[in-house]
Each structure stands twice: as C-alpha cells, then as structure tokens.
C-alpha cells in the first residue's frame, strides 16, 4: 500500500479504535449502573409497599424488546437487589409474599412493573428505565472487503456530506450550516459554524456535497454554492449559484449541473464532458469512463448505453490496490423505509460483477460521494432505529 494512502487511512483506523473503545466503555457503564439503579429503586419501592416481607418468591417476565440475555441479566440484578435489601428469595409455597416483575415498555422507554401480594391483595410499583441506543458494525469476509468507519452523527439538521481534513479536522455540511470540528482528546469539538442561508425552501430529499482542496472548500447545494477556507477557522461566502458540481471531488475535468430537485439535469461541463446525458441521480468516473444512475432507475454509460448493474440510486467510484484498481460502490435496492447496503462491483470483461460482500447500514443511504483523494467514499445514512443521521467513510481493503 503506498505510503500516502496509509497516511490518509491512519486517522480512520485511529477513529475506529476510539469508537470501539468508547462502545466497550459505554457497555460496561450500562452493566454497572444502567440496570442496577432502576432495579434498586423498584425493589425498594415494592418491598416498602409490601411491608418488607422477609421472604418472597420472584418471577420475572419480559414483555419488552429487551433480548433474553438482557432480561436474564436484569433478573440476576433484581435478585441481588432483593438480597442486598435483606429479603430472601424462596419458592412460592414458602414465600410470605409473591412478587412478579414484568419488564414492560411504552413509547417513552422501558417500564418495569412489580406486583406483590398474596391472594386478593396486591401492591404495584413501577420504574421508568431509559432505552439505550445500540448499533452494530458487521464484518465482511471476502477477497475484497469494504471497511466502514463511522466519523460523525447528528440528530438535528439533515446531514449532507462530511470531509476529513488533513489537519485532524472534520468539515460537516448539513441543511443549514457548514461546521468545522477539531479533534481534541479523541473527541470532535465544534470550532466554528457558518450559516449557509437560503432564499427559498430547500427541495425535499435535499442533497449537497463538499469539495475540499487542502484547507479550502466548496459546498454545493441546489441553487447555492459556498466557498471558503477552513484554516484558520471557517471563513465562508455563500451565493445563489447554478455552478456545476464535481462528479469526483478531486477531478475538475467533469462536472454536472444540478437541478432544483434531487437529481442532476444531465447537462455536463468540463474538459471530459462529451455532450449531455439523460437526468441522473449519481455518477462515477474512472478516467474517461463515466457511469450514471438515471432517474429511470437504471445505470448507463456515456451516451445512454445501459449496463447490467442496477441497484440503488447512488454510486461512487473508488480507486484501490485491489482487483483491477477501480471499484464501483453501489447502494442497495429499496426505499427509505428499509435498511440499506453498499456493495463493490468490478468491471470484468465488460461486465460488472459483485466484489466481496455488501456492507450493511441501519438505514437508507442518503448520500454516497467519492472523497477528494478518490480512494474512499463518504456515506450518509439515516438510522431508522433512532432517526439520527450518520456519516461513514467507506474504503476498499484487499484480503
């Protein structure tokens, strides 16, 4: 692997390590305090209402989305809390009081309900338990594998694109701002945020992309363009503009005009343009070859020649040391109600073939752009489980 590529990917690997370490720490924290606190509260409340019986029987049932393993762990925690409170857990026939605890759930979170009693007399106690967010990072195994590294997430405004700068900084484009984050003690800290401004409502399915050249950047949105510098701090000017967007951020030779909605008009600009194409959602270039995902749902080469590849609406080209050196990343089929995937394709004897296993995402892919160095792609998704926008860097690794 060339040295400059290693240098480029190093921050991603460090970030992945940080994320993995952070997840473990969070999980441990949940084990230690997440269940124990509500368990103690519930046990205390129900014992108080049941006049602190010395011996109880305990049944725990799970009516929530907690996994059987989590429910079992909670059951153990509850038993230990009864013991800590000086109450012995015995068989039902020996118990002074029978206690049934139901791990329930409502729209706000988990709800643990304890019922204590014997015969017709029953006491009830409840505690609310916040739901924790979880996410999975599946691994892929193949001769070519896609590696995804989450670099950013946000809940507020729709996220459009991110760009990692060489100075340990992250540029984030969303529907209202361009923000610069600086890495400090393994965290992204907001350094500066500049408003984009808009004179009319954005189209639904708003799209935007960042093109970065050293510390200078351009942000493209429908009918608007911002130009600025990220050093020192974000200095930016935005204006109404129909300037064409770059197909590959680092390639000035081919640009495409974006319409007022969510697709490119098909009009091309730049030295590599050879006439216009049909309207398209996304494009990828490798030298003089260009592929477009048309708004008709099919993938075309130049001049409208259909290819055998068709999946989602988004594609990006990535250069790597694997296979024939160029992979086409394509999003999966489906709409925004489903989770999504991205898979790599390689051109073999004029035919696109799947290369390696797809990498899964917990929500639809909203943006897929080739990075400035063309050796990775930026992916933006909306996580269906929590409605949070997440940005990943997707790179190709050889195995």
């Amino acid at each position: 692997m060339p040295r400059n590529r290693v240098a480029f990917l190093l921050p991603y690997f460090l970030l992945l390590l940080f994320i993995a370490t952070g997840d473990d720490r969070a999980a441990t924290q949940t084990d230690q305090t997440g269940w124990a606190v509500p368990a103690r509260e519930l046990v205390g409340a129900i014992l108080a209402r049941a006049s602190a019986p010395p011996a109880v029987s305990l049944q725990v049932r799970n009516l929530s989305s907690l996994s059987p393993a989590e429910a079992e762990e909670i059951k153990r925690t509850l038993r230990s809390q009864f013991s800590a409170a000086g109450t012995q857990i015995v068989k039902a026939e020996q118990a002074v009081t029978e206690i049934q605890i139901t791990l329930s759930e409502n729209t706000s979170g988990y709800l643990w309900v304890a019922e204590a009693g014997r015969g017709d007399t029953h006491q009830i106690a409840m505690v609310r338990v916040p739901r924790a967010e979880t996410s999975s990072m599946p691994r892929v195994t193949s001769t070519i594998s896609l590696r995804k590294t989450q670099v950013w997430s946000q809940a507020a405004n729709p996220l459009l694109d991110v760009a990692l700068l060489k100075s340990d900084a992250l540029l984030v484009l969303d529907s209202s701002t361009v923000s610069l984050y600086r890495e400090k003690q393994s965290h992204w800290e907001l350094e500066q945020s500049q408003p984009i401004g808009q004179s009319k409502p954005w189209p639904r399915d708003l799209r935007g992309r960042l093109a970065v050249h050293e510390h200078k950047f351009e942000a493209y949105l429908p009918g608007r363009k911002c130009s600025g510098s990220a050093e020192p701090g974000v200095q930016m000017e935005c204006r109404e503009s129909d300037d064409p967007w770059p197909i590959a951020a680092g390639d000035e030779k081919l640009r495409a005009f974006f319409g007022a909605r969510n697709f490119f008009t098909g009009a091309l600009a730049g030295t590599s343009s050879r006439g216009n194409e049909a309207p398209f959602f996304s494009a990828a270039a490798n030298g003089e070859s260009v592929w477009f995902t048309g708004i008709d749902g099919a993938m075309h080469g130049r001049g409208g020649a259909r290819t055998s590849v068709s999946a989602g609406s988004d594609i990006a080209g990535v250069k790597s040391d694997c296979g024939n050196g160029f992979q086409l990343l394509v999003s999966g089929a489906g709409d925004w109600t489903r989770s999504d995937s991205i898979r790599a394709q390689e051109l073999v004897n004029g035919e696109w073939l799947a290369a390696g296993a797809p990498v899964e995402f917990p929500g639809p892919v909203l943006a897929l752009w080739t990075t400035n160095e063309e050796n990775a792609a930026t992916v933006v998704i909306r996580n269906l489980s929590n409605e949070i926008y997440e940005a990943y860097v997707l790179s190709v690794a050889c195995r």
Binding site: T102, E105, I124, R204, L206, A311, D314
Partner: protein
Amino acid sequence: MKRTFYQWLAGSLLLATAAAATRPHYGGSLRVETQAAVRSMDPMTAGQGAMQERLAEMMFETLVTLDARNMPQPALAIAWQHDSSFKRWQFQLRPGVRFSDGQALTAETAVASLALSGAAEGWKARAQANDSSTVIIEGESAMPNLLSRLALTRHGIAHRGAVGVAGTGPFRMNGQLEGSHFSLTANEEYWAGRPFLDSIEITTEKPVREQMVDLELGNADVTDVDIDQARHAQQEGRRMAVSSPVELLALNFNVNHAAVKDDRTRRALAAAIDRTSIHSVLLQRQGEASASLLPQWVSGTSFLFSTATQEQAVVPGRKMPPLTLNYKFADPLDKAVAERIAVNAREAGIAVQPVGENLSTREGSGDAWLVRVKLESTDPQTALSELASTLGLKDDSGVASARTAEQLYRAEQRLLGDASVVPLAYLPQATGLSGRVRNWMEGANGKWHLAEVWLEIGGTADAEGTRP
C-alpha cells in the same frame, strides 16, 4: 467453466434487482380510496374519523409534533419556553411560512386559530405585544403536558378566510370539498420542501370490495383493508401496511338505561366476554385483546388489566334483564363481535340481543353499543384524556394531574371502575398499497406521511417537465 457459471449467476442476480431505485422521484398523482365519508377538512373536526384526520394532517400543521419517543419537535413553532409554574408558555413561530391562501403565518393568525381549537382546553392564546412572531398561551392551572396536547391534529393552525380554510402543510385543497371525489395538490412553497407527489386524488365512500378490485386492476394506489381480512390478504401476497394497534374496540353502556343502570349488571356482562376468542378468531390475531383503554405499546401497563373471562359472572340469585347491544350495521366485523358477545353472555345466563344501527353520527339507542375510537396521541396522558372525553367518561380520575406511569395506571383504573366502558381489543389499521408506491411511512399512531411518498418510475413520475 466454473467462473463462467458464477459470472452468469452474479449477472442474473444483479439484473433481478434492476430498476430498483432508492432515491425519490418527483411527480405523479397518488390515488387514494376509502370507505370513509369526509365532510370537512377543517382540523377542528379531524376527530370525526381516521381518514379525515389523516387528510387534515396533510394540509394543516401544529405548533409542535411528537417524535417516536414522545419528545416534542419543532413544527410551526421553532422554540418555546415556559415559566416555573407551567402556566405561561411562549412560542416562537417559524419565519417565512405562508398559508395556502397566501396569508403569512403570524402570531395573530396562529392565535385566531388556537382560540377556536383551544376553547375547551382551559387556556387562552394571545400574540406577544409588538411581536408578530411570538404566541403566548396562558392557563389558570399548570399545563406541563401542553406540548403533547398542542400536537393533536385539531390544534392544527388554520387560516379561516372567505374562500375556506387554508393550512401551511405540504398539500393544499384543489377546489372545494364536494361529493365523494376531490384532490389535494402539492404546496410548491412548503417550508420543509415540496412533496414528491404532484397531487393526491381521493375517492371516499367506496366499498372495500370495490377498492380491492381497483387496487388489483391498477386503478388505485392506497385503499382500506378490513382488519379481519388483513391476514388473508397478506397470505395472498398483497402489499399492505399494518399499523400498531391504534383503534380501541369497546363496549359502551348507555348508563341512563334502566337495564344497565346497576353497575353489577355491566360488570356481569363484562366478565362474561371472551376477549381471547374475539381476538384470535374474529380479528384473526390482528392487534391485541385488551381490557384497558390504552394499548400496551403506549402505556406499558395494559397487561395489568386482565383480559381473562371471569367465572361466576352472574350475581347469584339475581335475575338479569335482557339487554340490547347495538353495532354499526354496515360493519361486518362489528356485527360478528356483537354476536360473539351475545353468545358469551348467553353462556353466562344473560340475554343479549345484537341490533345493527347507523352509529356513525350518534350513540346507539340500545342498552349498550360497540364503539371504535382511534388513538389521538402516542403520549399516554394525552391519549387517555382524549379517550375519556370521546367515550364520555367522568373526568375526575386524575388523568390530567398524573405525573408518573403508576399514577396514570391508577387513573385508567378509575376511569374503568364503574364498567360503563368495557374495552375489548385494540385494532391496527391496514392499508392496501399498489406496487408503485414508495417510501410509505406511517407514524406510530397510524399517521400517514404522504409528503415523503413517491411513485415508482414507469408510473407517472416525471423528470424536469413539471419542475416548479
């Protein structure tokens, strides 16, 4: 040879997913059919029917909305604050919003709308002096739950002018609401982005059977599906969306009738009902059997209300009077449930006569009637309060002052205490969808998000031709 085979296989798999775009297309008209009658699109009357409410939500927006976790989110208000007593709230309106009749959203227009919809809420809205973008809502008592109440569809902000009722939502009425066919068109200036669809064509009062035929023939995109037919339709491979259980099916007693004035009579009948068989046989296991007013997914405490049939339902030595049970005559499912209740009652020694009536505009004339009430909110407190109001339950249960899940459970117990309403089941709502409908998303309480829907290419989706 092996390589060639796998190349062919890979190519076949790829072609099999051809033309399966994920990014939305603009354009086209969504054809919606429903058996419901829609008499008004005014958000104030949204509670008159699920379809009316769904359509009102396409045209009108509230100050705030609730997300999937019941957390308030900005809508027409972008910021809010309250005083320490929760008696005074201040809302900052979203700038640059216009109603579909061209009127700008101002504090004055919002207050005029809230004055009507909030008349029964116990609070008053007014515009902040010298500030046309700030609305003040004040009440005599604390209103900690005000945000979830303001998220109710009936508090949708409307401008009522000479030409009708205008909203700020993603769609606007095309012409007047007359007859059983009307259309909504995309609001090109919608602040959150023009919808993908150009328009929505709505046909009302159409029998479900005819809707299914239209769906099969490609003449409709969105139709009703009777919930007892949902499982069968799914087994036939028909495309449909089934919501969470959002509609309460309950027995509502006419407590002024002598036959059911004694709560022991009502309790005896309630105890005899076999909810499990109603759920498993008549409802085809859709939704959930329920003895509570709120469904399990909203309250988390529904399981505490026993759905089991109780033995010794009849008070020993007491002669039970014969009872009349009304059901909506046009609804075969309600008829089947009423007849099943009559069978259960007979087994317990109670004579019940099911009688079909037109229940769409009034309560039944008999001793009890079957009622269906849609959940108005996913917030448990607001939902329970609305259910109690709709069902005519006495509001001295403590719902309004409940602060914890346990207090709300106690309030729900008190509401059901005199057995004037007997919950039977919670039903989901099923919607048939044509193959070209994409991005179909329903909120937790069955809300449609038609601004996000788009139509698959090959239908009527367009390119640049009709761009605004």
